[in-house]
Symmetry: C2
């Protein structure tokens, strides 16, 4: 029997035990991976309705509009969903550095084969 | 006090309660998001040592060399880690379609604002 989550054309996110799916954000212009976070149903609905990317903050246990404090919002350009619908690809235009450290992307360190990290300029 | 996980140059993954970090795979050539999966310490070590991307399969509860059955392996080109070290960015060259459905990427459907999905050619 075909799995409608995989073949269907209706959004039916497979939320985990905490009601979350993984959200992967890339930069619409450069294609770079900016951050990985989580959305609950409310964050997903708000993102689609407003065009401002929202997450569920696991550390603060609350809804989180990205950039609500810093102003570094993420404007949604396009969203995709993966085969089993437990991950979302958020293609966005960032209004500033995405990482709370001030780096453009949260992925500012390269991993060497020996486990050392190298900071990327 | 500075958080060494964020500022340091040592790989120190922040594994979740199940011993996993999120692994986001993009295509080294096209930059496209291919898949999102998970790694435990063993999968991460094997990936770095062999250059073949390994995951921990949550559904099968076992180590999983991507492409072990299909031959559609992922060859590691570069790995990065995010600020709080709970996500890895795996930049890889795929030997074939990444998705088990035969699609090049697991993210083969676009999400509309109204929640409808559209298959991408």
């Amino acid at each position: 029997m075909a799995d409608l989550r995989e073949t269907g054309l209706a959004l039916d996110p497979k939320y985990d035990a905490n009601g979350l799916v993984t959200a992967v954000v890339t930069d619409a212009a450069s294609g770079a991976l900016l951050m990985v976070a989580h959305m609950n149903a409310e964050a997903l609905a708000l993102t689609l309705a407003s065009g401002d990317v929202h997450f569920w903050s696991r550390s603060r246990a609350r809804l989180w509009k990205k950039g609500e404090t810093s102003g570094h919002v993420l404007n949604l350009v396009e969203m995709r969903v993966d085969c089993d619908q437990d991950a979302l690809w958020v293609i966005a235009t960032p209004a500033g550095p995405t990482c709370h450290t001030g780096a453009p992307s949260c992925f500012y360190r390269r991993v060497s084969a020996d486990g050392a990290l190298e900071r990327i300029a």
